[in-house]
Symmetry: D3
Subunit: 256 residues, 6 copies
Amino acid sequence: MKRIKLADMTWMEFDARVRDENPIVLLPVGSTEQHGPHLPLSTDVILPEAVSMLVAEALGAIVMPAVPFGYKSQPKTGGGNHFPGTISLDASTLIAVLRDVVNELARHGVRKVVLMDGHMENQWFITEAIDLALRDQRREGITDLRVVKLGYWEFINAETEAVLFPDGLLSWALEHAAVMETSVMLHLRPDLVRADAIPNNPPADFPLYDIFPFDLAPIPPDGVLSSPASATAEKGRHVLGQVVPDIVSALGKAFA
Amino acid sequence: MKRIKLADMTWMEFDARVRDENPIVLLPVGSTEQHGPHLPLSTDVILPEAVSMLVAEALGAIVMPAVPFGYKSQPKTGGGNHFPGTISLDASTLIAVLRDVVNELARHGVRKVVLMDGHMENQWFITEAIDLALRDQRREGITDLRVVKLGYWEFINAETEAVLFPDGLLSWALEHAAVMETSVMLHLRPDLVRADAIPNNPPADFPLYDIFPFDLAPIPPDGVLSSPASATAEKGRHVLGQVVPDIVSALGKAFA
Amino acid sequence: MKRIKLADMTWMEFDARVRDENPIVLLPVGSTEQHGPHLPLSTDVILPEAVSMLVAEALGAIVMPAVPFGYKSQPKTGGGNHFPGTISLDASTLIAVLRDVVNELARHGVRKVVLMDGHMENQWFITEAIDLALRDQRREGITDLRVVKLGYWEFINAETEAVLFPDGLLSWALEHAAVMETSVMLHLRPDLVRADAIPNNPPADFPLYDIFPFDLAPIPPDGVLSSPASATAEKGRHVLGQVVPDIVSALGKAFA
Amino acid sequence: MKRIKLADMTWMEFDARVRDENPIVLLPVGSTEQHGPHLPLSTDVILPEAVSMLVAEALGAIVMPAVPFGYKSQPKTGGGNHFPGTISLDASTLIAVLRDVVNELARHGVRKVVLMDGHMENQWFITEAIDLALRDQRREGITDLRVVKLGYWEFINAETEAVLFPDGLLSWALEHAAVMETSVMLHLRPDLVRADAIPNNPPADFPLYDIFPFDLAPIPPDGVLSSPASATAEKGRHVLGQVVPDIVSALGKAFA
Amino acid sequence: MKRIKLADMTWMEFDARVRDENPIVLLPVGSTEQHGPHLPLSTDVILPEAVSMLVAEALGAIVMPAVPFGYKSQPKTGGGNHFPGTISLDASTLIAVLRDVVNELARHGVRKVVLMDGHMENQWFITEAIDLALRDQRREGITDLRVVKLGYWEFINAETEAVLFPDGLLSWALEHAAVMETSVMLHLRPDLVRADAIPNNPPADFPLYDIFPFDLAPIPPDGVLSSPASATAEKGRHVLGQVVPDIVSALGKAFA
Amino acid sequence: MKRIKLADMTWMEFDARVRDENPIVLLPVGSTEQHGPHLPLSTDVILPEAVSMLVAEALGAIVMPAVPFGYKSQPKTGGGNHFPGTISLDASTLIAVLRDVVNELARHGVRKVVLMDGHMENQWFITEAIDLALRDQRREGITDLRVVKLGYWEFINAETEAVLFPDGLLSWALEHAAVMETSVMLHLRPDLVRADAIPNNPPADFPLYDIFPFDLAPIPPDGVLSSPASATAEKGRHVLGQVVPDIVSALGKAFA
């Protein structure tokens, strides 16, 4: 049996895999962030970890332990960092963690790394971490390392969008703790979804700018940016059923 | 005559303005980034600076010297940092500059600051800088500082979009050095637009992931992400004519 | 049912718990480090996480997601960072992660934090992180935060030591991937122990100094510092059976 | 027409210049600092930028956008950072900006860089930035980069000094917002000089030490360290007329 | 006469030594830390400096100026950082100092460096400094630098332990300002020992965890962790008489 | 007997002094830098330490252990960092050390600190360290800390200058390892001056700019910037005899 999780391997198994297979290694990058009254704080860890596992299974890849803390939640994408339980890192900290991990993988001979993002707020800091790690590796004489960054939600195609939102998508920006995430959680971890607490409120309506300290007025008090009432496990299954093979195929090309 | 640019004021003028008027202070945050064969490297400085000046005129606000260097250009939003002349800062550097400037304004008594972004890649680093500056100020006992972050392009409304793209918008993501920016530059600084070099190529087509080091294959070799051929000064005039009053109005509410 | 893992809670549950109970929050601080041919790379995550869960159950405490990466493995305590699969952080990165997390907990009202170390190399960096977080909080006006740092192995008492090592303990320093860790893993996660690969070699013999780059000569090539051959699940059960109530009792006093 | 400002060039023009001419690139390093009741806050940007443009014209060099913020103004050289409108950077920030910009120029193939200082307080931080950038480049395998640091005022010779101060120079240290700077500003930007506000007070008299927080007693309340009353545009013209060709000649030798 | 202290050499002497002898260079890493009512704040500087001098004499090595400030004193190993006169560095500062010094030695051609620790709290930060300096040197193309870290007290053997503690050692952890340090100070610098203030109190009794802010209850109010009443100069002489030749011999092997 | 050196005090003596006398505490800030063929690498430590001791004696002040490493030697002020034996710190490291030490003194109740510089290159980094420490203390609620920065050589008056240079001073900038430093060393530590190696070469002649990497052409190969041939111990005695009481008097005013 070939193990997928780096955490479960012995160092000898990992070493043999790297030397023999030049495998892709996926690092789920999550967050501990409020996801409304119905989803757990770990939603943004569970989702990229699950996608990574499925992708890895298909590709013979390895999945790292997820980074459980991400960048500060913002009102328009996550409700905001003020919600209790939201545990975030400074930008410099998140960049440092990701940079170190990529460097360590490269040190052990890995040449194909994927940073699988589960939290929109992480995106640009992932980019910087990769840029700095590539700089470090260049100075170590390593020039054949390739690193892919992706957000699994970016791979949802029009057909799946129609399944998720038969009446039309309001806005991806408002999908925090809404139909898509709730559906996939209902599919993957129904035990962690408080089905009776799924809210059904009108969508948030934000101004075109951001203001700090946050203006709490436009932020829904439950932290849900648009209604997840139409979420179903079936929709969640559909999302993964489409997204996972598409990511598999994309990574095949990316590391060709 | 009331001056708008902080650079042009003496310290006594600035001091009087701050004490008497509690003015809004705008900081244009730009970049030095390739903008195709027809637009200058300073495009992302000129645009937010011009918008800031017009907004300030209407609001009696003050405009700071623009930050001329921004975050590293990315293929999907700016062609990429590899284009010659693209002079970018590390994330930590950009964050530090903006944090210091906001802190300095607060130290002198300013309580309403706007970071006017001209470069998409700057966005999240602006957010972090503001968050850190607010933390600093809190520790200095200052709790009434408010800071707005905005990208002027976010204020373009559906009607203006229709003016810019009578045949429909392809994608805002591909608007780098394209119709909107070229139009506004033709309106503001026709002397800096190489009209005879405006290209007319098909739009870039990127994969759903990002890969580092950049895969140059999908990046148009001239650095223009979609065709600016239909740009006109008149369209540029229209953009500013709509966006500026809308920003003026938004800031009025933000700092109410 | 009261949940123990912060990851499983909604923000509202966490918030209520903090406001109503002033709970202890435990953060397992692990590492991804070689543990010989028989134990998984996640050994130093699994152990403090398990101890934290048991302690939390007894105390009504909350357990955070474990920090899965720790400080660089050293020959005398972990075999060394050169073993494949050992993914470590720079000191500044580890300090930053722990500092941020403690600060975030304090921000949300938590006043009793435990950093439960699972990896000897983490110790001093945990100390620095706590010191810096307390400094930060002091500057935020928070002075009633108390943070405990502990290594669960420090609580093993003489009686348990006799159970583990009926022929006498060689040295705690050489217990990496040896009797104690293997026994507790056999008890907790037998599925992750390669029973047939448990080695039985003489203990490592290191000089009194450390040398960098590592001198590989005194390091056992399998990464096991002394023989785990006498490990049993029963011994592991005994360790937890003694250590957990003692930690529970110690924390009771620490936060009295 | 060959453009001088990098800001005005397209990336293709810049690229061609670098490949074909191996040009000198000048980076004006300024500050936003009080300059008395008569000079604008941007005085230390305007002067090095003007000198850079004149030097570049003579040398076929390229001028970068000026760094508009510098190190914290000190009483003995600039009146002090407490004067309103003085917007300064922490040392680490200023060093980072300059280091990044030099690194970016080197990345694009530039091998001759001049950091043209306009603010005495910047000097040592410029030195550190250059030292760190050269270290970075060395690690990238680039060893033929040469970087010159200069303060344009250092080039004022005895003859020009006699023109500026027919009754003898009091002290260069007290020339902040005084005869030299006011004269060059009257020559370059008379529109920004409040001629009617030019003060005529006795020079500042500082102790031999520095004390922090600043002792305000010896600092002239208007921020002018010695009288600019004898400043004239003609003197300003003379300064540039001497200094510019001397810098041109010096750079010729420096990069020979 | 061959000088031992780098401080006393001219640059030409140092240069000749490095080129001709490839010498070992020792850097004493101390602290300024409370050592009870009887020992000076510099105890942790004096001891590693003295050991370094004796070792260097035997080996023809060079001794650097000691680093006089170390990491924050902790209750269980030093009484704690709250004792007046204890002047400590942040972890990042201490790491930076040691990293810079090792890098500078390497730059001048030194290839054998010893960091001679005099303060338990410094240990892990020394490790990180060495790791980072080796990384820096690797990127400079230097791969033959070897750095040894040692605490002189680690070399005390069983026989010397019996001399120091004829009634048995209580615990090395409690030896702060106790028999060993007091004895060596009585031998080396009796002028700095307040013989009449040597306390004789029962040993400290700490819990198995650490708590922050420090719980002052278990910390002896005079800062002495166990009684130094049995200290003698003769014991101190014995310690050095055993430890120094053993370190000499160990370094001979380490740099063979 | 009242001790002057903090290093020699017990914590109780220091504590009593701070509480009873609110003493001035002096921190000598030195460097390990080439000083020609005749002076030791520690010249810039010995001189500020000696001045500090004499000043402290007169004022009842306390002297800290000197910081033995300073900022990178520059050609025009110290010959340059390339001279063997010159062991320098990065700017960020030097700033951090000084900031930490000032913060620690303030934490223990000291309110009057003097940073006594012995190395010209340290100056601006001392300024930044003080500024940052004052910021830190402000955030700790401490607002009555005063910190003086001084270079002892700044206090040499015209009369002493005439004693040192009966034929006229060439330039203070060229006094590195020259008449003044050599004279004071001959007075204080004749054992460390290689009298037979005192050179007598023409002064260095530098261009008006600085270039990096250093241009070695204008740097005297022995590292001495102007001839120390006329140095005498008597001149050295005279310097201290004038400078010390003047600093004593200045500090009396500074902390009045």
